[in-house]
C-alpha cells in the first residue's frame, strides 16, 4: 500500500511539533524516518495512527485521502504500529494481547483455540517461535517486540510503522529485526522505520527522509555517508567520536563486592555483582534495558534497602548508608530518568541546581536560604554548562531534554567528587548536548575521579568506556576491554559467553 502525508502540521500550544511535513512511502519499501530526539518523528506517526489530530495537512492511502479520528480507524485502513513503549498488557498472555480489540468469538465468548492458531500462524511465517499462552511480562523485551509485530500483522497491516524499535534490542536481535523488516517489505508491506541511529538506517533502509525541528530537511539514499546523514540530521557538522586520552590510572578507589538484591518473591534483581574502578577510569555497564542496571546504580547510592554485599569508596562502606550520606561522601549521581528522579519539574532552574545542598552552607544559613548565593551559583552553572534557558527562574519542566540533563549534571558535578555514577546520561538528549555531556564526563575522569557509566546505547558505552562490564539478568557476566568487538559485546548482552 502506498502511504502519502501532505503538509502535516501539528501544534502543542506554542510548540510546532510538525511543520508542513510531506512524506511518500512506496509499497514494499523500507522508508527510514531519521531525526534526533524531539525532532517530531513520533508525533508525526501518532498523527498517522489517529492518536493525534493534525492541525493541517492530509493523509492519503493509495492516493485516496483518509481521515482517522482514532487508532481503530487507522488500523482498519491497514496501518499497524509498533510503539517505542510497547502497547502490551503485561498480565495478559501473548494470544490475549494479539487478539485484543478484534477477538475471535462466538456470541461474545472468546474462541481461544482460534486466537492461538492465529498467533502461531503469523509467528511461524517469520520464524518468531512465540508461545501463545506465555504471559507477556515473563518474556524478554526482544520477544515482546515480536508480539507487537504479530499484533499488527494479525490485523492485516499493509503499512507498518516501527518507532525506535532497536532501542531495547541487543545487536543480534537488531539484526534479526532487520531481516524481518526485509522479509515483510519483500512480501509487499510498506515499512516506516523511525530511528536516530545512522548505522541501522544505512543497513536496512531503501530511502531516507530526515526530519529536524519538525520539518523535513532532506531526502537521502542509504549510500550516503554517515557524516552526511549526521550533519543533515543535526544541522551542522558533528563529531561522532569522543576525543579522549589514554587513562591515567590511580589507586583502586571504588570496589563493589558480591552486591546482591532481592525483589519481591525472591527474584534476584542483582546477583553477586563485583567490580572495581580505579581513579581516572571509566567503567561502563553495557546491557539490554532491564537487566539490573537501574537496581545497581540505585543500590550504590542508597536508594535500595536490604542490599547485601559490600560497596566501598576509598575503603568506606556505603552499603546501608542513607542517600544523604552517600552523596555527602562525594558521590555524584545522574539518575536514569531525570524527570522522575533527577529534577523537580515545577521548580526553577536555580532551585533545582541547589536541591542537594539546600540546607547546608553556603546555600543556607540558619535554615534560611541565601537567595543571593543561590542566584550567583545558578548564573555560574548556566554559563559553565551552557544551559539554554530564558533565565534562572524558568521552570525546569519547560526546558528541552538536553538542557534539563545539563542542569542535573551541573548540580552533581558541583560537589567535590570522589565518584561519578551516570545512568543513561544522554537518553532523550539532542546531539549537541550529547557531545557536551560526554566531554564533561571525560573531564571528570581525567581529573582522577572513578566514573561508572550505565548505558543501553552500545555506541555510548564504547565511546566512553575504558573497560566494559556487561550485565545480564542482574549479574555481570564479563568485564572486557573497551576495544572488544561489537559482536562479542552483543553476544554477552544476550547472556552468551
Amino acid at each position: 500500500m502506498k502511504l502519502e502525508l501532505r503538509g502535516i502540521t501539528k501544534r502543542f500550544g506554542s510548540l510546532v511539533a510538525n511543520d508542513g511535513i510531506d512524506l511518500v512511502v512506496e509499497p514494499g519499501q523500507i522508508h527510514a524516518l531519521l531525526g534526533e530526539n524531539g525532532a517530531g518523528k513520533s508525533t508525526l506517526m501518532n498523527v498517522l495512527f489517529g492518536l493525534y489530530q493534525p492541525d493541517a495537512g492530509e493523509i492519503l492511502l493509495d492516493d485516496a485521502p483518509r481521515h482517522f479520528t482514532g487508532p481503530g480507524q487507522a488500523m482498519s485502513a491497514g496501518i499497524g504500529m509498533v510503539h517505542q513503549h510497547f502497547m502490551l498488557i503485561p498480565v495478559f498472555t501473548v494470544a490475549e494481547n494479539v487478539m485484543l480489540g478484534h477477538e475471535p468469538s462466538k456470541a461474545g465468548v472468546i474462541d481461544l483455540g482460534e486466537a492461538r492458531r492465529r498467533v502461531r500462524e503469523i509467528s511461524d511465517r517469520f520464524g518468531f517461535d512465540l508461545d501463545p499462552d506465555a504471559l507477556v511480562e515473563d518474556l524478554p523485551v526482544g520477544v515482546q517486540q515480536r508480539v507487537e509485530i504479530v499484533k499488527a500483522l494479525s490485523r492485516e497491516a499493509q503499512v507498518l510503522v516501527l518507532d525506535e524499535p532497536t532501542a531495547v534490542l541487543t545487536p543480534q536481535e537488531t539484526d534479526e529485526l532487520m531481516s524481518t523488516m526485509r522479509a515483510l517489505a519483500d512480501a509487499g508491506t510498506s515499512i516506516v522505520f523511525i530511528t536516530h541511529k545512522l548505522r541501522e538506517v544505512k543497513a536496512v533502509a531503501d530511502t531516507i527522509t530526515v526530519i529536524r525541528l519538525g520539518k523535513v530537511v532532506g531526502q537521502a539514499l542509504p549510500t550516503a555517508s554517515t557524516d552526511e546523514l549526521a550533519s543533515l540530521m543535526v544541522g551542522r557538522d558533528v563529531e561522532l567520536t569522543v576525543a579522549k586520552n589514554p587513562p591515567k590510572l590511580g589507586e583502586e578507589a571504588f570496589v563493589v563486592e558480591g552486591l546482591t538484591l532481592f525483589g519481591p518473591g525472591g527474584t534476584r534483581l542483582l546477583d553477586d555483582v563485583s567490580f572495581s574502578i580505579r581513579e581516572g577510569e571509566v567503567l561502563a555497564i553495557a546491557g539490554v534495558q532491564g537487566n539490573g542496571q537501574t537496581e545497581l546504580t540505585e543500590a550504590i547510592v542508597g536508594l535500595r534497602e536490604h542490599a547485601l554485599g559490600s560497596v566501598r569508596l576509598y575503603g568506606r562502606e556505603l552499603i546501608d548508608a542513607s542517600v544523604r550520606d552517600v552523596l555527602g561522601s562525594g558521590v555524584g549521581f545522574v539518575p536514569e530518568d531525570r524527570k522522575v528522579d533527577g529534577l523537580v519539574a515545577e521548580f526553577s532552574v536555580a532551585e533545582n541546581l541547589m536541591l542537594d545542598r539546600s540546607d547546608t552552607r553556603p546555600f543556607a544559613k540558619g535554615g534560611v536560604i541565601d537567595l543571593a548565593h543561590r542566584d550567583r551559583f545558578a548564573d555560574d552553572a548556566i554559563a559553565e554548562f551552557d544551559i539554554r534557558t530564558p533565565g534562572r527562574t524558568t521552570l525546569v519542566g519547560r526546558l528541552s531534554g538536553g538542557n534539563q540533563q545539563k542542569v542535573v549534571l551541573a548540580r552533581e558535578l558541583g560537589r567535590e567528587l570522589k565518584l561519578l555514577v551516570a545512568s543513561q546520561p544522554t537518553r532523550g538528549v539532542d546531539v549537541g548536548s550529547i557531545e557536551f555531556i560526554h566531554e564533561r564526563i571525560v573531564e571528570v575522569r581525567d581529573s582522577g575521579v572513578p566514573v561508572l557509566v550505565v548505558s543501553t546505547e552500545l555506541d555510548e558505552v564504547i565511546a566512553l568506556a575504558d573497560r566494559i562490564a556487561v550485565m545480564y539478568r542482574g549479574a555481570i557476566i564479563d568485564i572486557v576491554p573497551a576495544d572488544t568487538p561489537r559482536e562479542q559485546l552483543g553476544r554477552l548482552m544476550a547472556g552468551v559467553h
Binding site: L51, Y52, G72, M87, F92, E96, G108, P246, F275, R467
Partner: protein, 425 residues
C-alpha cells in the same frame, strides 16, 4: 593503554533471597491460640451441634461433643497446617491458600464450640445468617471488582447500596411489584455510577473524592425523604414486605446445605448466579478482556481501537446495576423496610472484600461471606450468653477484617491503572 579485564575474584557464598515469615507466623499464632485456649484450657461443658431445624424435612439428631476435644482436634490440625506453612517459608516456598483455609476454619469451629458450650450450636442458623448478612456485601464487591478491573475505583458503592435500598422500598410499597422494585434499585445504582463516571472520566475529578461526595449526597437525600415522607407515611411508602422464600424442590431437603442454599429469596439466588456470571464475562468473553485491558493499560487498549472512556463509562454503569441489587437485598430481600443509613458501612466492607479477593469475583464473594459470618457470629454469640464480654464479641467482624487483611496485604497487586484517569495529548 593497559586496561586488562580483571573481574574482582573474591570467593563468597552466594546469598539467598530473604524468607517471608509474616504469613506462617500469623497462622502459627492462630493455631496455638486454637490449641491452647480452646483445647488445653477449654471447657468440658457439653455442646450440641444442631444440624436441622424443626421445620426441615430431614431432621438429624444433634451431635453432642466436648468443646475441649474439638479444640484439641482442630487445634492439632491447625498446628499441623501452620507447621507446614513454617516449613514452606523456611524452604522459600509459597504458602497455599488451602493452608490458610484449614487454619481459619479450625479456629472458627473451635471458637464456635467454645462459645456454645453448655448449649447448642444452630449450624443452619449460623450459615443461613452468614449468607443473609453477606448478600449486600457480595453484590457490592462484584460491583467493585467490575469497576476496578475497568480502571475506576468506586468508593460510592456504599451510596449505591443505600440508594438501591431506598428506591426498592418505595417502589415495592407503592406498586406492590417486587420486579419493579428490583429494577428501580438497579437504575438507582446505575445513575449514581453515571454521576461518578461523568465527573471522574469527563471532568477528571479524583475518583475517591467524587465517591465520598456521592456517599454524603445519597445519605443526605435518603435521610431527608425518610424524615419528610417515609416516616410519617410508613404504611403507604415504607411497607414493602419481603420477597417470598423460594424452595427449590428436592435440593432444599438436603440436610444442612438444603435450607442454607436452596430455600432462599430471589435476591440470594441472583447473587448465586451473578458471582460465576461476572467471572465468566470478565475472563471468558471479549467484553471482559477489553474491560480488564482498560484497568491495566488503557493506552494499549486505545491503540487497538477500544474507546477507553466510553467503555469505562458503561463498565461502571453496569457495576452500578449490580450494586443497586445489593441495596434491594437489604430491604425487600431482608428486613422489609427502609431504615436510615441502613447500608451501615457494608459498601466499605465490600471494598475490603474486593482487595482480599484479589479482584476475582469468586474470591471476593468468599471474602464477603467471611465478613457476613463474622457479623452473624456476633449476633449468635451475644444471645448464646457466652463467657466473653459482649463488647469483645462485637469486635469480631473487625478483628476478622484485620486478620484477613494482614494475611494477604502486601501480597496483592490490583489492576495497574485503577483510579487513574485516561488522558491523551
Amino acid at each position: 593503554m593497559s586496561v586488562a579485564a580483571e573481574p574482582v575474584a573474591v570467593a563468597h557464598a552466594s546469598a539467598l533471597p530473604p524468607r517471608s515469615w509474616r504469613l506462617p507466623i500469623i497462622l502459627a499464632v492462630l493455631a496455638v491460640v486454637t490449641f491452647v485456649v480452646f483445647g488445653l484450657f477449654g471447657t468440658d461443658e457439653e455442646v450440641r451441634f444442631a444440624w436441622s431445624r424443626a421445620a426441615d424435612a430431614v431432621s438429624l439428631d444433634p451431635s453432642p461433643a466436648s468443646p475441649r476435644v474439638i479444640g484439641l482436634i482442630f487445634g492439632a490440625l491447625a498446628l499441623l497446617a501452620s507447621g507446614f506453612a513454617l516449613w514452606s517459608a523456611w524452604n522459600r516456598r509459597k504458602v497455599g491458600v488451602w493452608v490458610m483455609l484449614i487454619v481459619g476454619i479450625a479456629f472458627l469451629v473451635s471458637l464456635v464450640a467454645w462459645v456454645g458450650a453448655g448449649g447448642s450450636v444452630p449450624v443452619v442458623f449460623l450459615l443461613t445468617g452468614a449468607i443473609g448478612l453477606s448478600t449486600a456485601i457480595v453484590f457490592g464487591a462484584l460491583a467493585g471488582v467490575i469497576g476496578e478491573r475497568a480502571g475506576i475505583v468506586n468508593i460510592a458503592i456504599e451510596g449505591q447500596l443505600l440508594g438501591g435500598a431506598f428506591t426498592s422500598a418505595i417502589v415495592a410499597s407503592t406498586t406492590g411489584s417486587y420486579i419493579l422494585a428490583l429494577l428501580a434499585a438497579m437504575v438507582t445504582g446505575a445513575l449514581i455510577s453515571m454521576v461518578l463516571a461523568v465527573f471522574s472520566i469527563r471532568y477528571l475529578v479524583d475518583q475517591v473524592i467524587v465517591g465520598v461526595v456521592l456517599i454524603g449526597l445519597v445519605t443526605a437525600i435518603t435521610n431527608f425523604f425518610y424524615s419528610a415522607a417515609l416516616a410519617p407515611n410508613s404504611g403507604a411508602l415504607n411497607n414493602p414486605g419481603t420477597l417470598d422464600r423460594i424452595r427449590i424442590p428436592l435440593l432444599a431437603d438436603i440436610p444442612v446445605l438444603g435450607p442454607v442454599l436452596f430455600d432462599q429469596r430471589l435476591t440470594t439466588y441472583l447473587m448465586f448466579v451473578l458471582v460465576p456470571l461476572t467471572w465468566f464475562v470478565l475472563f471468558k468473553t471479549k467484553w471482559g478482556l477489553r474491560v480488564r485491558a482498560l484497568g491495566e493499560h488503557p493506552l494499549a487498549a486505545d491503540t487497538v481501537g477500544i474507546k477507553v472512556n466510553r467503555w469505562r463509562f458503561w463498565a461502571v454503569t453496569i457495576a452500578g446495576l449490580v450494586a443497586g441489587l445489593g441495596g434491594a437485598s437489604l430491604t425487600i430481600g431482608s428486613v422489609g423496610a427502609f431504615v436510615r443509613e441502613m447500608s451501615a458501612g457494608q459498601g466499605f466492607i465490600a471494598l475490603a472484600a474486593v482487595i482480599l479477593g484479589r479482584w476475582n469475583p469468586f474470591y471476593a464473594a468468599l471474602a464477603a461471606l467471611l465478613f457476613g459470618f463474622a457479623s452473624n457470629f456476633r449476633i449468635w454469640a451475644g444471645q448464646a450468653g457466652s463467657a466473653l464480654p459482649p463488647d469483645l464479641i462485637a469486635m469480631t467482624p473487625y478483628v476478622v477484617t484485620i486478620l484477613a487483611v494482614a494475611l494477604v496485604a502486601g501480597r496483592v497487586v490490583g489492576p495497574k491503572a485503577a483510579g487513574k484517569p485516561y488522558l491523551k495529548e
